[in-house]
């Protein structure tokens, strides 16, 4: 029996519970200031163990060469580039939440943007490892930079998508890091000013850069955030576009298509949101932040998942149709025989991808499913499995049967060191995330306070009633 208020009841509160400014500070700083829980330690130790296994795997690969991986003459890219594209894709959701939703003035982003941006940074760090170690002679990795050298100077090939990737990924990492840290400064100052222990005062004192909260500084901070959001928006689209160029500019059947850039960007956002769900469902539970990361947030992100999942589905069908319609024999063979045919060596991976990415997310058309946390968690894992297989399908099923049947390779399975490298990046990712959730405020404190009086449950209930007419009656009378 809601009454019409200044703001429509259609928009539910973003911050639940009886919160004022001080309570927001208390709630979000509590996990940072408390001793880490047992669960945190268990998670952290497992992550570090995985990271160590990754370090061992990389050590073996560096010492004995890329022969330690099962890559061969036809399958030159295998798990490594699959993992690279997968991790970069995951990063995209963070930028979408922090930048694009800022430009669209979406208030709900404030609850999730800090953690999502952190996820972006860690995911890009993981992604970068794969092309670097795939170089083999990793000690020469700096050859990709255009620096004056004694070989001529011989410049890098600026016409090559692989070099564009170097610029795109490194720019993406730098800009995301700056954007994230600029947003963190005021919250670091909050932690600094609340600190009791000596080391905390010193650590957060250094990390807050001497932030005071001066009005002039806030004015510049707002301008900076807006422009960085405006820069990050085309940047994030360019990054996965350029990653897709790595494939699309080649003449391999299944890769040489113009649909790749939008298809890759949609897929990236799709998998990224799934990873945000996985992380936030755990984070809100472990840190007790359910009033800030509400079911509402989860539902909105599930809507993005069903949207982008459907875009990806249409892209799969379009490329399948174009392969048939184009009458290019090689293209059609790659799709019909290497992918769609369930009984071909890798047919199972194509259908696994279809099931996880296109069919299963459709349950999010139902509101009940979107708001069900167990279903959401299960789906978020499924989507990321599916998106990993999407990259695997694109790379391996296009490569394993090339133009020359005599060089068609046998079945490609990764070695323990390839798998170890992948597990190692999980270790890196989660080690960073655990440290982040312990030492940094996982929710943007200042931004939550900024929207609190408009979107907080506490303040919404106190809003003046402007009309006595019931919302339901009004809606019914004016429905048509």
């Amino acid at each position: 029996m809601a009454l019409l208020k200044y703001e429509s009841q259609v928009r539910p509160p973003i911050v639940e519970g009886n919160k004022d400014y001080h309570q927001v500070t208390e709630d979000i700083c509590r996990p940072v200031e408390a001793k880490p829980s047992k669960l945190w330690w268990i998670g952290f130790i497992i992550s570090v163990a995985l990271l160590m296994f990754g370090v061992l795997s990389v050590y073996v690969e560096v010492v004995y060469g890329t022969g330690q991986w099962n890559l061969n003459k036809t399958i030159g890219w295998g798990w490594d580039i699959t993992n690279f594209v997968w991790w970069v894709g995951i990063g995209h959701a963070g930028t979408l939440i922090s930048a694009i939703l800022l430009l669209f003035r979406q208030g709900w982003r404030t609850g999730v943007n800090r953690a999502a941006e952190a996820m972006t940074i860690f995911a890009v760090m993981c992604a970068g490892q794969f092309p670097i170690f795939h170089m083999g002679r990793v000690w020469n990795a700096f050859f990709v930079l255009p620096y004056p050298n004694t070989r001529g100077p011989l410049w890098v090939n600026f016409d090559s998508p692989l070099l564009w990737d170097v610029f795109a990924i490194s720019t993406y990492f730098t800009v995301s890091l700056l954007f994230w840290y600029a947003g963190l400064l005021p919250d670091m100052a909050t932690l600094r000013d609340r600190a009791k222990e000596k080391w905390r005062k010193r650590f957060y004192g250094a990390a807050a850069f001497g932030w005071t909260g001066s009005t002039k500084h806030w004015q510049r901070h707002e301008a900076l955030s807006l422009v960085l959001a405006g820069l990050s928006t085309p940047l994030v689209l360019s990054v996965h576009t350029i990653v897709s160029f790595d494939f699309a500019t080649s003449v391999i059947p299944g890769w040489h298509t113009t649909i790749f850039p939008p298809y890759f960007v949609a897929g990236a956002v799709f998998s990224g949101f799934a990873m945000v769900q996985t992380l936030l469902l755990i984070t809100r539970r472990v840190l007790g932040l359910q009033e800030y990361i509400t079911t509402e947030h989860i539902e909105v992100m599930n809507k993005v998942i069903v949207l982008t999942g459907s875009i990806v589905g249409i892209a799969y069908l379009t490329e399948l149709f174009m392969a048939w319609y184009s009458h290019v024999g090689y293209e059609w063979f790659a799709f019909k025989e290497n992918r769609v045919n369930l009984f071909s060596p890798y047919g199972w991976s194509y259908w696994l991808m279809m099931g996880c990415n296109v069919i299963s997310p459709q349950i999010f058309w139902f509101k009940k499913m979107r708001r069900n946390l167990t279903v959401t968690f299960f789906m978020s894992i499924l989507v990321n499995v599916g998106m990993w297989f999407e990259r695997f399908v694109i790379i391996v099923t296009s490569l394993y049967r090339d133009y020359l049947p005599s060089s068609w390779s046998t079945y490609y399975t990764p070695t323990i060191w390839e798998i170890g490298f992948y597990l190692g990046t999980f270790g890196l990712f989660f080690t960073c995330y655990f440290l982040f959730s312990k030492f940094f405020p996982v929710i943007a404190i200042a931004e939550i306070k900024h929207i609190l009086k408009k979107n907080g449950d506490n303040y919404k209930q106190k809003m003046d009633v402007v009309e006595e007419e019931k919302v339901e009656e009004f809606a019914h009378a004016h429905a048509h």
Binding site: T25, R202, F209, T212, T215, L228
Partner: protein, 196 residues
């Protein structure tokens, strides 16, 4: 910088703060600054601050990035070491667009953040004097600078009448220095003669 005297008042509601800022400005007091836990839109206008030019700086950094990428690649690929890749033209502009774009974004973002830090005197290990530690929590802190024409008692009662709480007269360092937050430090030592 210098150590100055300030009349400091704390507000707990931005709806009280706004009229107070206007009233204080109207009556001719010199507002040193207002410290808030989050950005309050319109407060800069109410305080009479001019709009920031950070956007313009960002634009200039951006086009610098574009020109650096364009001119460097052009020089490297047409003059310094023209490389014949499958008979394609040396000056192949469309293929350079991705890198030109990335450098535009990189220069604009890095330049703007550095400019922002420079203008606001923000850097690791920078230390400043703070008026009220709860200004980063839930308190809006207004500092009025005490000049030789200011009647301190009058300013204090005026602030209180506008809704400010805990109105105090303090002495603060206005500059910044490299220091640690776990120690009591000031750039200039307070002269006991002029102390409160």
């Amino acid at each position: 910088m210098a150590i100055k005297k300030f009349v400091v008042g704390s507000f707990y509601d931005e709806q009280v703060l706004f009229p107070a800022v206007k009233a204080v400005r109207k009556s001719g007091y010199k507002i040193h600054d207002v410290y808030t836990p989050f950005p309050i839109h319109g407060l800069d206008t109410a305080m009479g601050l001019r709009d920031t030019s950070l956007h313009t700086a960002g634009f200039i950094y951006g086009i610098t990035g574009t020109s650096v990428a364009f001119s460097f690649i052009t020089w490297a690929f047409t003059t310094d070491w023209p490389l014949n890749v499958g008979g394609k033209p040396f000056f192949s502009l469309p293929a350079w667009i991705p890198i030109m774009f990335e450098l535009t974004v990189l220069f604009a973002a890095v330049g703007m953040v550095l400019t922002f830090c420079y203008l606001c005197q923000l850097a690791p290990f920078v230390k400043k004097d703070h008026f009220n530690l709860r200004a980063t929590d839930d308190t809006f802190v207004m500092a009025i600078e005490v000049t030789d024409r200011t009647n301190v008692a009058e300013a204090q009662s005026f602030l209180t009448s506008l809704g400010a709480q805990d109105v105090v007269l303090t002495e603060k360092e206005t500059g910044w220095w490299i220091g640690r937050y776990d120690k009591r430090q000031q750039l200039l030592s307070t002269d006991p003669q002029t102390a409160l």
